[in-house]
Symmetry: C2
Amino acid sequence: MLTLGLDIGGANTKLATADGSLARSFYAPLWKDRSALRKVLAAFCQSSPVSASNSVGVVMTAQLCDCFRTKSEGILHICSTVKSFFENARFFSTEGTFATAREVSEQSMRFDATNWLASAKFIAKAFKNAIFVDVGSTTTDIIPIVNGKVKAAKTDFERLKRKELIYEGVLRTNVSFLLREVSIESEKIGVSSEVFAITADAYLALGLISAEEYTCDTPDSGGGKTKEAALRRLSRVVCADLDELGVSAALSIAEQVKEAQVEHLKDALEEKSKKFRIKRVVSAGIGEFIVREAAEMLALDFTSIADIYGKAVSAVFPAFSVANLLAEEQECDVSMSEK
Amino acid sequence: MLTLGLDIGGANTKLATADGSLARSFYAPLWKDRSALRKVLAAFCQSSPVSASNSVGVVMTAQLCDCFRTKSEGILHICSTVKSFFENARFFSTEGTFATAREVSEQSMRFDATNWLASAKFIAKAFKNAIFVDVGSTTTDIIPIVNGKVKAAKTDFERLKRKELIYEGVLRTNVSFLLREVSIESEKIGVSSEVFAITADAYLALGLISAEEYTCDTPDSGGGKTKEAALRRLSRVVCADLDELGVSAALSIAEQVKEAQVEHLKDALEEKSKKFRIKRVVSAGIGEFIVREAAEMLALDFTSIADIYGKAVSAVFPAFSVANLLAEEQECDVSMSEK
């Protein structure tokens, strides 16, 4: 088995090999149940030709889940769970180096939320000046790369401040987080604060994702991943039945969701591109389609990771990147030791 | 047993007698499980001296829960559940009249979301010109009463448009619905779109509600209803641990939640008071404290239902109101038949 990369998020656990021949995302909501990670790794190990001694590079964001009292508690839980499957797992640090589980247990916060750093470090080898953007199910990373160096803050808190982290994605984000009001027939209407519809509903209704790509749960558990069910959920955002609101108004809510997300991306890209005089956006993630739109509005060059490595790799890009960074380091170690 | 009023919400089922000697709210999240209503009514009937033939007036909002495909489906479910406990239940309609379960089954949408109407009709007997405001766990009603007439739109959708319904409350509302950004040390910081903290956390942290008044679940299930746990949840809104953010910054997020809610209320009250030239606010609900603040900012006279009828009745005011409206109608019927 090739070197494996693992990206453990709060909602999804992503796996990829360094050559991209394997690139998969498993819906595993740790925020609901911390044992979800153990279950998904057990299922993966059973169905794949991996062994406990496999080379595995690991990045994580799931420590932020509120099933953990602190991020450190989450990091230690994730680290020990991974180690129980892969004894030689290597964890990617905020300094961009790999460390053992023992080092994680000693200084856990050095391993807090480094998935974007793995991607950016990997991208920086090919693109010396670019804004790297990864739009996932839940969050968006916007990382400037200048002269081959990653220019972003280290912690999520600092990245939120600098708009290097925008906590919205193209599947799980509550529509009412994006739109405090919606416009219908040029009237403004307040929205419900419940989780009645999510971004996946908007993009499913607009035909921008398929039912298979709607990989998270629907807000109305088991409510169906059809266009009609999505429109019904979008109607409820203004406390209406679909019959009451009408299909075209429900679709217009979906459009407004997309506009809001493109606008937020555009603002962040514009600021970074001006500040660092960068003209190129390189984008990964299942939400590449909104990045492309924002980049076009700003007349920035757009490079799609899906075009280069395929859609499956783009969707799990931090896992693919950390696998490659580890493979490279280990090759380097081997050639050093041969000298 | 006196005439009973039932107000069936998506998160809480509230009961009151016409004299206010009983006034209780039960946390019964129908949005998670529609059988919650049957369970709460069964428990109530077992522990109280009620009989199946008791006089019961009913209002409801739980039909909006997304466990129901449409509001009509929800209304029919609620109606038949109530009828299985109280055979003579009377349902309050959008015209302000009472009807039998049979009439509900024939024209269900006439019974959609009338709890605010029961309260406003009852208030209008004592206050001919007032803005009635009820701030609950989840939503806020802002209802103008002009010359003794209730001047509000009928449907939730129309009420959202006119700011007669603001879909936020003082317990269950996601902090990130209220604050797209928070200010910390005069810097703006984007927030996480997860449900990491709710308004109950803000008001618990500020000492404005007690642990006993925090009647809904915490977002981190079982995370504790202490001030420290609330501050920890508020810190997570900016992806930080409490240690990382610090207590005073976490408290400042709580302050900003309150400011946002007071501001939203103030905007709505200002518009209604100007439009109808009304100088008095009459407020019920567990969130009276923020209404008082908004009214004071606008120099409007403020009348507290808690001061008149007690805190317990104020917290379940639609249930108390519908019990009184039904009792009055039935007395009237009796005196008519005696003539």
